[in-house]
């Protein structure tokens, strides 16, 4: 329960940064925090106490069918995709922020017309 709640807290911190900060780069950072929070939450969902990483290393395990005590591999596969999506969006957001900097010479959104409010 406590790890889950920590993820929710991280999510809230990220949300706070996105809503309250008036700096474009800070907003991107806030978004990254939100994304980490969700990824971590999803990955922790699949954790199983005392289990192993889902990789078969010894041929005996293949034949005997032992060591099936793995953590849930599905969230891992999904979070892998989510991490890549997060990287892609972060890169695109940064490029938009940079383009705005080129136009206005500032990251302060209160000096950028339409982003106010």
């Amino acid at each position: 329960m406590i790890p889950y709640l920590a993820c929710v807290l991280l999510f809230l911190i990220g949300l706070y940064v996105v809503i309250s900060k008036r700096n474009l780069i800070k907003i991107v950072i806030g978004f990254s925090l939100i994304e980490y929070a969700v990824n971590l939450f999803f990955a922790l969902v699949g954790f199983k106490k005392g289990a192993l990483a889902p990789i078969i290393t010894q041929p005996e395990q293949v034949r005997m069918g032992v060591a099936r005590n793995f953590v849930d591999p599905v969230p891992q596969a999904l979070v892998l995709t989510a991490i890549v999506i997060g990287l892609s969006t972060t890169a695109l957001m940064l490029s938009l922020a940079m383009r705005l900097y080129e136009k206005y010479k500032t990251f302060d959104i209160s000096e950028i017309r339409r982003l106010k409010g």
């Binding site: 996105v18 969700v38 383009r99 017309r113």
Partner: protein, 501 residues
């Protein structure tokens, strides 16, 4: 294996998108060619799919890689057929239209068409997906393509709008992913049909409502529903006209309304009788969107901004109709998705033609375009009539169905509101006609020529379809919209069909 055409919906546009950057190095015009051919092929495939579903009466299904349940399902029922048809009609018109429209911009031709194809691929993939996480991935593909396309002009206003849109949209995406994680933690499955069976065993606990709320917030952001409408007006306003048509006509409907209704009706099993709270919520937010969007549209003096606020209002109609929850309400909502995609698509394309020919969108400066741009003018007028709900156009029947549904559900005030805001829609759209297309005093800007042939062609296709859907509404209702509405009404029947087939 009757579902073998399903992977084509994703494979064709993706192959096109990957080929465009390669081949356009050889000849820049390959980009136009590939985009048009690809979207035409997709249109063909979707018509074929619709005919198959209609003839057999059975949905098509497909397990990617041949894995049942643990693999990813593709699913094509009457509802998918409707959505896919809308996506590919508007997508085809947008790509044909863009060929000449892109003359307005310097460079970036292949990038534009690559992104447009990716947008179409994302929407198609979402429409046919039968897997929770897969839906999220395809929502993200289309969303990311749309952010970049909104910023395509790279002027101040475009980049600003894109940044704002992107931050909101991605927070919405993160919220969706959080909801998916919660669902997975409890249900431990991702296939929609399997999921609906597992969820049915949990009952209507706080968890159920919390997950619904989480998903609703995510989808509300995507569809620009009222408290989250801020991005929509700016993004639709700043995007290139064919992209505005895609965003307003298709994107908000598919990633917002379609994805939400698929999950809520077919997976969470909401129904008017059992979970009235959900439906009342839809009506409340829909009515607010309808009223505020309509009033804001009335006050605008910019051609595209007016249309953007109008989209918010029309999304409100769709939500209200879904919230009514009986057959006529849901059929009205789906019919309105179709009518709005065609009508609003035409209007945005018309605004693009006007802007391309005159260089401005300010209604106060425009005048007398009717003389030199008759095709654009009449496209606009006919589409306006459809949007305002005048017979015999498509929009009339969707609003009629919504009003019938409201009366059948004894929500007379809602019927009244819907009728009233039809009049408001007519008001703001005729304002455009008066100000831009006919002669008036004190304005200067006009055009000397009609828009290029391909652009006119794209508009005409949409207008002809608007009229055709209106005139042949019986056929559309019986073979396209009605079966789709029944898919939603039947709710959990979905799981039995998927797993039984």
């Amino acid at each position: 294996m009757e579902g073998r055409i399903l992977p084509l919906f994703v494979a064709i546009p993706l192959a096109g998108a990957f080929l465009v950057p390669l081949l356009s190095k050889l000849w820049t015009r390959f980009a136009d060619l590939i985009a048009s051919i690809t979207s035409a092929l997709l249109l063909g495939v979707s018509v074929y799919g619709w005919l198959m579903v209609n003839a057999g009466g059975m949905p098509l299904h497909y397990w990617v890689g041949g894995w049942r349940i643990i693999g990813i399902a593709m699913w094509f029922d009457a509802l998918t057929a409707l959505i896919v048809l809308i996506i590919n009609i508007v997508g085809f018109c947008a790509s044909v239209y863009s060929i000449r429209y892109l003359d307005r911009y310097t460079g970036g031709r292949w990038k534009f068409f690559t992104l447009l194809l990716l947008l179409i691929a994302g929407l198609n993939g979402l429409a046919i997906s039968g897997d929770l996480f897969n839906m999220f991935v395809f929502i993200e593909i289309s969303a990311i393509a749309s952010y970049a396309l909104v910023a395509f002009g790279t002027e101040e206003e475009e980049v600003e709008a894109a940044f704002k849109y992107m931050v909101l949209g991605e927070v919405g995406g993160a919220v969706l992913l959080f909801g998916i994680a919660l669902i997975y933690a409890r249900a431990s499955t991702l296939n929609l049909a399997h999921l609906s069976q597992v969820l049915a065993g949990f009952g209507r606990t706080p968890f159920y409502w919390f997950v619904i709320a989480t998903l609703l917030i995510g989808f509300a952001i995507k569809m620009g529903m009222e408290p989250f409408h801020a991005w929509l007006a700016d993004a639709h306003f700043s995007a290139p006209a064919p992209i505005s048509a895609m965003l307003s006509g298709v994107f908000i409907k598919v990633t917002g309304v379609y994805a939400m209704s698929r999950l809520m009706f077919n997976v969470f099993g909401v129904s008017r009788a059992e979970t009235p709270a959900f439906f009342n919520l839809l009506i409340a937010f829909g009515a607010v969107s309808m009223v505020l969007g309509g009033l804001l549209a009335y006050t605008q003096n910019d051609y595209k901004r007016l249309l953007a606020y109008s989209s918010i209002s029309q999304i409100g109609y769709i939500l209200v109709a879904l919230g009514i929850g009986n057959f006529w309400g849901i059929a009205g909502a789906l019919f309105h998705i179709l009518a709005h995609a065609l009508g609003k698509g035409t209007l945005f394309l018309a605004s693009g033609s006007v802007e391309r020919q005159t260089g401005t969108r300010n209604l106060e400066q425009l005048k007398g375009l009717e003389k030199t741009m008759p095709a654009t003018t009449w496209s606009h007028i006919l589409a306006s009539f459809s949007m305002a709900g005048l017979p015999p156009f498509a929009g009339f029947f969707s609003k009629l169905f919504i009003i019938i549904g409201a009366i059948a559900a004894r929500m007379y005030w809602l019927a009244f509101l819907a009728a009233l805001f039809s009049a408001v829609t007519l008001g703001y759209l005729t304002k455009v006609v008066n100000m831009a297309f006919f002669v008036k005093q004190n304005s200067s800007v006009t055009s000397t020529r009609e828009a290029p042939g391909l652009m006119v062609l794209a508009m005409l296709v949409l207008v002809v379809l608007t009229v055709a859907v209106g005139v042949g509404f019986r056929g559309v209702l019986d073979h396209l919209v009605g079966p789709a509405a029944r898919v939603l009404l039947n709710g959990l029947e979905y799981a039995r069909l998927v797993l039984g087939g």
